[in-house]
Amino acid sequence: MATATAEGRPSIFARLVPRRLFRAQTLIILVVVVAIAYLAIVPLGYLLWGTFFDEQGFTLKFFGQAYAQFPLTELMSNSFTFAIGSTTISLVIGTTLAYLHARTDVPFKRLIFAASLVPLIIPGILHTVAWILLFSPEIGLLNAWLSPFFRGPAFNIYSLPGMIWVEGLHLSPIVFLLMFAAFRSMDPSLEESALMSGARMRTVVRRITLPLVVPALSAAVLVMMVRVLEAFEVAQILGSQARRWVFVSRIYESLDTFPPKYGEAGAYAMTLLLLTSIGVFVQSRLSRRGKAFQTVTGKGFRPRPLPLGRWRWPASGLVLVYFLVAVVMPVLILIYSSLLPFYSGPSAEQFSRFTLDNYVATFTRPHSMNALKNSLVLGIGTATALMFFMAIASWLVVRTKLPGRWLVDNLAFSPLAIPGLILGVALLFVYLRFPLPIYGSLWILFIAYCTRYMPYGMRYSSSSMYQISGELEESAQTSGASWWQTFRRVNLPLLMPGLIAGWIYIVLVSFRELSSSILLYSPGNEVLSILIWERWENGQFTQLAALGMVMVACLVILVVIASRLGARIGVKEH
């Protein structure tokens, strides 16, 4: 290849300034870029300012106040014990299930997949409450049943091990999905050639299979660590009772007093933000490097399942136990509680008291119907706005050669590192000071959800943008179509499957959102998850359970629609 002289280059001016500055194209792109930058940058800016500045100027006093009460070392040690413990549990469970499902002839594969949907349809708060009902020292059902064998309660859920168990179990399906993809896309001939070289199965797994999934495993470790560090429900509900403080629970506690200690919350938030950012950054570097020497090829071809032989029945036992523990027990105890007028352990007398009053109350009280409506409006509004904006943003990043497009990409992904609770704090900082009067309305929740789920919208739309050959768009251009005609008639229809998938995912996660909403809602603007939270604080377990089951039902319907749509669109995609 030849190298050109400097004079051969177009001038900076000619490249940066389009010929017709106010074309619709330029305007639309500008709006999208500004919106992304606003959502990603402004909250953090205010958070930094509110944490490091008071009326007198720069200060570190909030850090002093925050860590005088609760030493940094204690928070660090609690947070990391919690994170490492939960990550280990989720990794062991998730990877084992993924291997069994992807590479062996284990029975009950459908059960494994059903269980993988659990974190999508059972929000963290319901999962946590279910485990309280099973293992609380006072009312825990299993503790009561096991008490003859132990002196006192068998297991205290209000403890660090309790937190680790509940969070680890809740996250295991995510590890399953990550590792399942890795095992599935691995070229089976890599393993088969090891077998042909005379290696035994155990050696193959140890020397070939596991080293090949190391990139996926390390990515999973980092994703899980960040997830646990920012997990709010378990840390707050179980941890505050056990007085095992981690960063998120301290943030919440400093704001849950009167007057709220914004500075302290900001100080805790900055420390946590540093940790999660490191995690997300390292993970993105790892995945980039992983691509460079990828040995795992993506052949669309299903590997022959490995016969488990005499291990088949122990393995299937494992799967059944997991399904029982992760799905059946929590759901059953919630259904059981939702049918009672007041909570008590099961007995003949209790069964005779079964009533649908809690459900009737849920559907007749204007308060709960309003919350349901708010959740739906917010979910649908957020998903629609985000997918449209991200479709344009991903076009910008994937298709154009505009200088600075990588910045748009990074900005859109940056909220991945921001825990929901911190985003809540940051938005409080913004809209308590900012003249825009949206605090106390649904708009502030809308902005919070848009910011939190921007990365998912971007991921869905850019991954489908990458799958569309650039020539499809270029052929529209050479056919005479303008930018907008091309985008509307070629790009949007082709992106649609990916956009719909992303849309439903965002509706789902917005519907269950709690950790940002908890700081930003105001009376009259509650969403469903806030209502559940309030029931928990008031100790109304039975109403909480009924409300929770209604929410689960909504989420199940959404998931079913999603999978149906996915199946239909999948057929058309060839």
Partner: protein, 395 residues
Amino acid sequence: MQTEREPNVAELRVEEAEDDAPAMLRVDDLVKTFPPSRSETERVAAVNGVSFEVPAGQMYTLLGPSGCGKTTTLRCIAGLERPDRGEIVVSDRVLFSSGKRVNLRANERGLGMVFQSYAIWPHMNVFRNVAFPLQVLPQRERPDKREIADRVGEVLRVVRLDHLADREATDLSGGQQQRLALARALVMRPPLLLLDEPLSNLDAKLREEMRFELKRLQRTLDITAVYVTHDQVEALAMSNRIAVMRDGTVEQIGKPRDVYERPASRFVADFIGSSNFIDGTIADGGPADGYRITTAHGGLRAHSEASLPKGTTVVLSIRPEHVGLHEGGPRSDEAHAWSGTVQARAFLGESVDHVVDVGGFEVRARCNPSLSIPPGTPVTVSFAESACSLIPADA
């Protein structure tokens, strides 16, 4: 890198033979650079000063190995890449000019293009794919529904897809998709058709069929087309003119037969078919009655229109099918015959390739399948004067 050099033998011949038809496309001193990748420091020139003219009604081929800049040149003409410098004019309409600061966007150029992947929109059926270019015309130029239907039907008839108008585009076979892409590019009646390796995704049999189909359409509809390919057989079979490109520059322009028989450089000779290259020096002679050349393996005669002084180092290119081969010693009528031994042979169906060892130098000879000489046999190879082309040694 290629520098300014004297126009060589083949180019001179071509310019004499240039058709009288007015130029439909003129590309002048086109330069396109790309930002350096991580391992490089300077911008990379994919196209570095390319100029050519395409007379109306011709099939003009840009031929070269991957990375030679042929596709980038085509994309610059289409308006999909923005050149750094140069001028592109289609029938007196300036599409791009760095001097006049003109750069029409792809959708304003009104050219037809067939992409390598065909780029058939999978969410539209055959009819809607072809109708698209008409439907996106500005309001006042847009034909009404009936005229669109008529014109789409007409162009589908031309490519023989009219019976499939309602078919989903994704249900078409490879060859049908190819013709659909062609129909879509032609429906606008563009002054210029751009073809980016349109046959490379077809299997061998279909490719041969489509080659003739494409040629027939181009000739009967009298379309001017620029055709990009890396397949020399395709280029030779289809083109009126071939421009062989290398490293972002045009190496040789000529009719298919000229480019094949009178390659201007070792690169062209090597890229278009295979060739025996023999280094030598001019012993005596001139353009009028040919040159005598001395080589390390024996004397040869070759013809050239350039005047080359005695002692000039040259390279002789001889196609394997032009090498004469027979068993035993040289016959009396053979002027330039060398003795050697058959080293290896390969049966290729249509021919038999022999590798002959001439005192340590390997000569490839392609013979009729009726001739097959076992390795180890002493043979004679001969080179007819008309089959030897002279290439300057530095090219």
